[in-house]
């Protein structure tokens, strides 16, 4: 198992390197010239060249990429131009070992940006994850057990509604009615635990997390229902009933164990994806998380931030995949090898 994880991690690192290269190449294949955009409409060619140099886009793409890789391993110092550093030592910012780059647009290292934004996205993701897993499995199982009744149909219909409505609609709806019109909660704005305590942190996260959770929950309700119903028709469930087991153990011990296995995979990957930021939800509630950071970086052609985020989110997904595979072996003895 250990050797397996090491091998998977190694493959993951190679994948990340390739991902960063592809991002670099795609960025420089864009028809837009980032320096021209940054400089403005009325720039002369000389001015554009100067901006290009200031932004570090003057070097060949491949060199920029190898500089980036080197920075990840040994760290970098900005600005890279030695003469500039000597001229204005107060501008020097040190970017220590896993250095993902320096955003000239935001005048800060990418690691710094991520350190700011990640807790927001992670808080959202964790809270939403708990809500949708608990709700999704609970209602999914209830729907499966009451299959064909009013309860089942009601749960399926409601989840279909939430599944069909786009996140921005649900987000704006909750914001407009629950926070603004009825005033049940304050209009959320992200507060750290240090600032507002656990209560303040939770109450500000509640609406955006609910927005995210409702969408995912809708999918999980339907999947849980389908998996439980499928698992109920298995021969080993008939065996369990033939033994004389009560309904409870048949459902919770025998049926659920089998039904939840595929959900673990999906939950792990969905959670990893969400750790990388919920673009729409963060925008609707104006939370400065990774999703919003990525959108802003896209708009302002902020290559270092983009690369940093691509590598970070890629590593989330890769690690989540490995964790899910390991979990699978824990759940299903048939997967354990050697």
């Amino acid at each position: 198992m250990f050797a397996y994880v090491v091998r998977r991690l190694f493959i993951g690192v190679i994948l990340l390197i390739v991902m960063s290269l592809v991002t670099f190449l795609l960025f420089f294949l864009m028809p837009q010239d980032p320096a021209r955009v940054a400089c403005g409409k009325n720039c002369s060619i000389a001015q554009i060249k100067q901006t290009e140099k200031a932004l570090g886009y003057d070097k060949p793409a491949l060199t920029q990429w190898t500089d980036f890789l080197q920075g990840v391993v040994v760290g970098r110092e900005y600005p890279e131009d030695k003469s500039l550093r000597e001229k204005a030592p107060e501008l020097i910012s040190d970017c220590a070992a896993p250095c993902l780059g320096y955003s000239r647009v935001n005048q800060v290292t990418v690691s710094e940006e991520i350190k700011e934004a990640f807790p927001v996205s992670a808080s959202l993701a964790v809270l939403a994850f708990i809500m949708w897993i608990v709700g999704g499995i609970l209602f999914g199982v209830i729907a499966a057990v009451t299959k064909g009744t009013v309860v089942d149909r009601g749960i399926v219909a409601i989840s279909l509604v939430f599944y069909a409505f786009p996140t921005f609609f649900i987000g704006l709806f909750l914001l407009k009615f629950i926070a603004i019109k009825w005033g049940w909660v304050d209009v959320p704005s992200y507060t750290t635990i240090a600032e507002g305590g656990v209560g303040g942190w939770l109450s500000n996260l509640f609406l955006p997390a609910l927005t995210l959770a409702l969408f995912f929950m809708a999918g999980y309700v339907r999947m849980t229902r389908a998996f439980v119903l499928e698992s109920m028709t298995e021969d080993y469930i008939r065996t369990a009933r033939a033994k004389g087991l009560k309904r409870g153990p048949v459902l919770f011990k025998h049926t659920m164990r089998a039904a939840l296995t595929p959900l673990v995979t999906m939950a792990g990957l969905d959670f990893a994806g969400l750790l990388g930021g919920a673009i729409i939800t963060e925008s609707v509630f104006n939370f400065n998380g990774l999703g919003k950071l990525a959108v802003d970086a896209n708009v302002s052609y902020d290559l270092p931030t983009l690369i940093g985020l691509v590598v970070l989110l890629g590593s989330f997904v890769i690690v989540a995949n490995i964790i899910v595979d390991v979990l699978y072996a824990v759940i299903d003895p048939r997967v354990r090898v050697g």
Partner: protein, 347 residues
Amino acid sequence: MSFLSVRDLRVHFPTIDGVVKATDGLSFDLERGKTLGIVGESGSGKSVSTSAILGLHRRTNAIVSGEILLDGVDLLKVSDEDMRRRRGREVAMIFQDPLSAMHPYYRVGNQIAEAYRVHHDVSKKAARARAIEMLDRVGIPQPDRRVDDYPHQFSGGMRQRAMIAMALINNPSLLIADEPTTALDVTVQAQILDLLQDLQRDFDAAVMIITHDLGVVAEMAHDVLVMYGGRAVEYGATKEILTHPEMPYTWGLLSSIPEVDADPEAKLVPIPGNPPSLLNPPSGCHFHPRCTHRDKVPGDLCRTVSPELTPGTRGEGHLKRCHLANPDVVYEREVLPEIAPDLVEGR
């Protein structure tokens, strides 16, 4: 009265297209220590009927009627909770494919011990010891080690032995074996059948063995019930039925058995056509569309009138559902020479 007495058992499944009559008026008796073989094609209602005896059908999708008297108690009249307590303790079942019938995520010993703990208030340790004892009894080598294996670590034959251990751990008085050897190699089949017979003697259980293999019936069963389209078409002592069958469907089953010492050039004779639809069964005798002897019955009776289960030409103990006036003669003259020509010459 018999230990197990089933009277006019009907299992109907209402569907959007109509009522599927999977079992339609089945009656038989079984004593302790005896074995009843139930034979028929896929979809003839064998498994559905035995599931009804175990109370495995859900009330929401199946209508079960008739009488299932086990030791004088009508299993169709007891409460769900009462039935649950009898399942696994009084009536136990062995299923066809032991790989899919065992939970892949739990240890074999765990699953066997679970069956014991449902009905006995004992510690996990005691149940485990009992599971090891049962694994040993059914011939699993090193049972104290194999008890912690998962089903996929067992071979097919061992899995079926473990299933048998699971079924017999509570000393049931009625054991239903639903095609217990179908998923196994031929050599293993014989071992499993021997084991079942052995255990039946020890436990003095009544055994129902469902199969489509007449060889299994010949070896195991005292009585045999041939099912077709949800009904019994022939019922009697095994020896009697196998030597003097009086229903064309049973003849068909007999002539479709391959024989080891038969002429390699000889062709197997399949029964033409397909099993009947249980939703819209054929009019009259359910078997008439596939019956090669229907012209021998005058007045198109086979197509219009459903024959009753009546005593055969050789006495009360042999019941058959057929309009033929002289099935014994037809069998002797037309069927037997084709199935076993050497047997005919010898007479």
